[in-house]
């Protein structure tokens, strides 16, 4: 106050002493002529520095006294008006300054709704603050959030662990098929991604049973709620290899309403995007029927290159998923159909350097795999505090026809027909009484049929393998649990039944191979089991002890003797959260378990044109132990997430895999010899937000070592495979017109047989995408991928692929784009390896240059 008085006094004396200039005037709106209050009026000197300033009064007037105004200028600014600047040298006062309306252009820096916020166990990521211009789906943005990892299939991990639920506005519409959402929902429709740590999906178990898994919930923006939202892309173009027309189309519709949710999507392409994985159920555990295919004809693949560069496909996927909320519970229906036709070609030339001249073996393979899959899932679920009911009916039919022809020195033709028929129903009921007592009933029934036919014609020989494999599995159980003072004790008891018949026939077995070629077998068992479980909470720790014990009666329909077995496999886990940032878990388990029943198979089965497989002719049990530890740390305000995991496991089997060559044929069988294996796995991951450029960075590493035994050509082989990988990712928008994504990965592996070390082989991959936005309506992507694959020790194969895409945004709804991928038109992936005895030349095809013009629409 005093300072002002002093000023005023000075000013007044100055007025008296010399001629003070009174800069006065009024600021008005050009359009209405109304006076503008609150406008900033600044007098700048000839050097552009602020001399004096004020703001206009309610009547738009202002007054500033200046000793001299020569060379000075008057700036008038106000929000929502264009700045006006006038020189003061040649004007008289009072002056009227008219401001023209106009948006005040802000260099916006998004007001962080905190990029990451934390409330209790829920961590909320603000989608807008992580999204970059080049992102389309919410999955693209999830990848940038530290602590979250998204695989290309859409599968999500949080702090190194798979999530256990995926919600949209709190509803579990898709179950484990949430890849449809991560790859489909536009990130512009999502306001926030919430991660709920220690998520217990069944409310009835909350506070009783601990969960170390996290769930994800998408919070949609208001504009995407209570209405249908659509977006679609349609693109067509030309490809240089495979030569011809290419297409890529997608239609995605979503409704999120209070009592109804629906996601329907249709996708089709022949541009190398594998769609079949997008409808995969990530939560599916192995089917109770435990059948697996004997026959396996696989098409040649190109190793260590991104799949979209090497996949020659025609794919289509239709998926519709609906959820209705009833007054009690909810009903869900999910229907999916996918079609995939994949073709592959490869040629290998092996030259053997022999004393009497070189011998050349050529092998050109050309194959096609046509698969259809149709599945339906119908669910009723009631998820309340006192009761949980879930009934899931699932049916699934797959057809898979593979044809692979090989020309050259070993001419042959393989045709396999591999359909799969499955139906299952799971029922689960949990009731909570007086807060602390729980009663559970479970009934699971599954049936599956897995017929397989493989026909091989080789020169004049013709072989046909037929397999009929059926199984029915039932599991009925009841459980009781109660909780007192942080201790929950539960006991589950039940019965399981399993009925399986296997019929295999191979009429024309090559003469070189001795042994049976037919299996007629039924493997049945009946189990009574009990699983006591104890959970204890103390301070910030949770201890869980699981001690399943079971008695099983096996019958093998005279093929093998009847067996009665007792199994006990306890596990103990501990989880400690010393504070809200750190979580530490330790887990150990040990146990005895029956062998995989599909290994009981005394007769040979032809699995492809040159390999045969035989299982064991007796029943065995195996034992295993494992210990693991994990630690995770997060500091949400700093946007720092880190986790590390280490696991060691041991297995002891009384049988060993043996490999034997008979002429050109490889025969796999099992012999009754002890085989011990062990595995060490370790991984770590650190993610951090980079707020200064609205980006994030991530570094990760992993190591694994696997030791196993097999018998090859009657001699024992101890094989040790060691591999490690290290990777880094960084993305951001350092400039207003530029954003980028960079990824680096290096893997290295080595196989040692009987302590003879082969050399390390490494693969390195670099990928950089630059997105340039010269104008609001234009966007230009340029991306390069570089691979450096070590074929043999110190011999590297380099591949560099360059893509570009130009996008024109007509308006918010409509977007046109043109993309050119593999600009250099690299069509082959060839390499040759040499040894003292032979050279091996391999030739694989890559997708060639491709031009695609697309139109994208959204509502």
């Amino acid at each position: 106050m005093n300072r002002i008085i002093v000023y005023l006094v000075c000013m007044l004396t100055a007025v008296g002493a010399s001629a003070q200039i009174n800069v006065t005037g009024t600021v008005v709106d050009t359009q209405s002529d109304e006076p503008l209050a609150g406008a900033s009026v600044i007098i700048k000197g000839p050097d552009g520095k602020i001399r004096k300033f004020t703001s206009t009064k309610t009547d738009g007037s202002f007054q500033i006294a200046m000793p001299s105004v020569s060379g000075c200028s008057l700036d008038v600014t106000m929000m929502s008006f264009k700045k006006q600047s006038v020189g003061l040298d040649s004007i008289s006062f009072p002056v009227t300054i008219a401001l023209e309306p106009g948006a005040t252009l802000l260099k916006e820096v998004t007001v962080k709704a905190d990029r990451i916020r934390e409330q209790g166990d829920t961590i909320s990521y603000n989608v807008g603050s992580f999204a970059q211009q080049q992102d389309r789906s919410i999955g693209d943005v999830l990848k940038r959030m530290p602590g979250i990892n998204v695989e290309s299939s859409g599968k999500i991990q949080y702090q190194g662990e798979d999530i256990n639920k995926f919600y949209i506005e709190g509803s579990d519409l898709l179950g484990g098929k949430y890849g449809i959402a991560t790859n489909g929902i536009s990130h512009e429709d999502v306001g926030a991604v919430e991660v709920m740590e220690n998520h217990q999906p069944m409310q009835v178990l909350s506070g009783i049973s601990f969960s170390d898994k996290a769930a994800i919930n998408l919070k949609l923006k208001n504009k995407a709620k209570a209405t249908w939202s659509f977006h679609g892309d349609a693109g067509g173009g030309y490809s240089w290899q495979p030569e011809g027309a290419v297409w890529d189309g997608e239609l995605f519709a979503m409704a999120v309403m209070p009592n109804f949710q629906n996601i329907t999507t249709f996708k089709t392409n022949n541009t190398g995007e594998d769609l079949s994985s997008q409808a995969t159920d990530f939560f599916a555990s192995r089917r109770g029927t435990t059948l697996s295919r004997y026959v396996g004809v696989s098409l040649p693949v190109v190793p260590n290159l991104s799949r979209k560069r090497t996949l020659f496909n025609r794919s289509a996927l239709v998926s519709t998923n609906a959820l209705w909320k009833l007054s009690q519970g909810e009903v869900k229906a999910q229907i999916d159909y996918s079609f995939n036709r994949i073709t592959a070609e490869a040629s290998n030339v092996t030259t053997y350097f022999l004393n009497d001249g070189n011998r050349v073996v050529t092998e050109n393979s050309d194959g096609a795999d046509r698969s259809h899959s149709l599945s339906g899932k119908f669910i009723y679920e009631l998820n309340q505090k006192t009761a949980f009911i879930n009934n899931t009916l699932k049916t699934n039919i797959d057809w898979d026809d593979v044809h692979l022809g090989v020309t050259g020195s070993l001419r042959n033709n393989q045709t396999a027909s591999l359909p799969d028929y499955y139906a299952g129903n799971d029922f689960k009921l949990i009731k909570r009484f007086s807060g602390k007592h729980l009663v559970t009933f479970i009934s699971k029934n599954k049936w599956e049929s897995l017929p397989q036919t493989l026909s091989v014609s080789m020169d004049d020989n013709f072989m046909r393998q037929m397999v009929k494999d059926h199984a029915f599995h039932t599991n009925e159980s009841a459980a009781y649990a109660f909780s007192i003072k942080g201790i929950t004790i539960s006991l589950e008891g039940g019965v399981k039944g399993y009925f399986r018949t296997l019929n295999t026939e191979l009429p024309d077995m090559p003469e070189e191979i001795p042994g049976e070629t037919a299996n007629i077998l039924s493997t049945n068992y009946f189990t009574v089991y009990a699983t006591p479980k104890l959970e204890y909470w103390v301070k910030r720790m949770n201890f869980t002890l699981n001690a399943p014990i079971s008695f099983t009666h096996y019958t093998f329909d005279k093929a093998l003797a009847i067996r009665n077995e007792v199994y006990f496999s306890p596990s103990l886990s501990m989880n400690w959260k010393p504070n809200s940032r750190i979580s530490i878990g330790v887990r150990g388990s040990s146990g005895r378990s029956p062998m995989d029943l599909s290994l009981i198979q005394p007769g040979y089965v032809m699995t492809n044109y040159r390999s045969f497989r035989r299982g064991v002719d007796d029943f065995y049990n195996s034992t295993s132990q494992s210990a693991s530890a994990n630690i995770s740390y997060k500091h949400t305000r700093r946007g720092l997430f880190a986790n590390a995991f280490v696991m060691q496991s041991w297995s002891h089997n009384p049988y060993t895999l043996a490999q034997q060559l008979y002429g050109d044929y490889v025969v796999y069988s099992y012999t009754s010899a002890k085989s011990d294996g062990q595995m060490l796995m370790a991984s770590g991951n650190i993610g951090k937000t980079l707020d200064f450029m609205r980006g994030s960075a991530n570094v990760n590493g992993s190591f694994s070592r696997q030791e196993s035994h097999l018998i090859s050509e009657n001699s024992a082989v101890n094989s040790v495979g060691t591999s490690w990988s290290a990777g880094a990712k960084i993305n951001g928008a350092p400039l207003r017109w530029l954003s980028f994504d960079y990824r680096f990965e290096r893997t290295s592996s080595r196989l040692a047989m009987n302590s003879t070390n082969a050399s390390w082989l490494s693969n390195m991959e670099n990928e950089l995408l630059l997105n340039i936005m010269p104008h609001k309506k234009w966007e230009w992507h340029i991306s390069g991928e570089h691979y450096r694959n070590e074929i043999t020790a110190d011999r590297f194969k380099n591949v560099f692929l360059l893509d570009t895409k130009l996008i024109y945004k007509l308006n918010k709804r409509l977007e046109l784009s043109a993309s050119l991928s593999n600009i250099f038109n690299q069509r082959t992936y060839n390499y040759t390896t040499y040894s003292q005895l032979n050279s091996f030349e391999s030739q694989r095809r890559l997708r060639g240059r491709e031009l695609l013009i697309s139109i994208s629409l959204r509502k």
Binding site: A37, D75, T77, M79, D121
Partner: protein
Amino acid sequence: MKAIKFIITSLALCLVISMDAKKNEPTAELKVSYLYHHLDLRNDGSVLTHDYEYILLANSDCSKYYNRNNEYLDSLDSTPQGRKLSDQLMTIGIDQYLKTGDDSAIPRRKGYIYVFKSHRDKETTVYDAYGLMERGRYSEPFSEIAWQINDSTKNILGYECVMAQTDYHGRHWTAWFSPEIPLQDGPWKLCGLPGLILEAADDTSQHNFTATGIENSNQKMYPIYQPKQYDKMKRIDMLKAYAAYRRGADAYSRAMIMETPDGSKIDLATPKPRKENTQNIDFLETDYH
């Protein structure tokens, strides 16, 4: 967790509905987030650093400066239904704390202050806490801050900013404002420069404000919830009362804890003697001494 989520969602919904009803509130043109960083001296002599996020909503006529989480909790406390939900949130938080020792779910307030500025009346009105439950308000004219504009410039969030200094209520402040953003506003009570203040710090570095985000906005500037709870008082008196409360906070809470409703006694260890406040860490305003 589900319960918390449900509560928050339904509450947010209630809020949106009730907010829609009022239409005559001023609309902001600009939204700015500030990080308020300050050092705090505890009774045992230790120094704690605190970071609070504040939002400034502003147009040429008026502005509102507040903490979002605090306003959210105030909105809960303003209706009976909200209080019920607030109690539930608290219960869930405490349950979790007792069971796991993890107190992060207990709803907490961070930053009680609301500052409303009226450019028409050239007046700032402050609503703040001055005790555990005590709330007060006062107004002061803009003219209490007189700035000296300096020649120095620096770039903040992509804006060329000019330095200005002032002595204000016991502290010497250095502020950086951007003439490119024609709003004579800023964080806390700081305002009156020909451009938005994006950074301000006092010369002891105990208090500083930094803008972390800035965007166009059309958010409504709603008035404070339950204005009647705030006693009208003099600024100096409010600061004095708050200082007295802070000095005696330990004893105050002891008294609260020991007087249990059912008459049972809780034994607490005798309080440690308070160490001397040697580090001269104080409030934003120190002219109450």
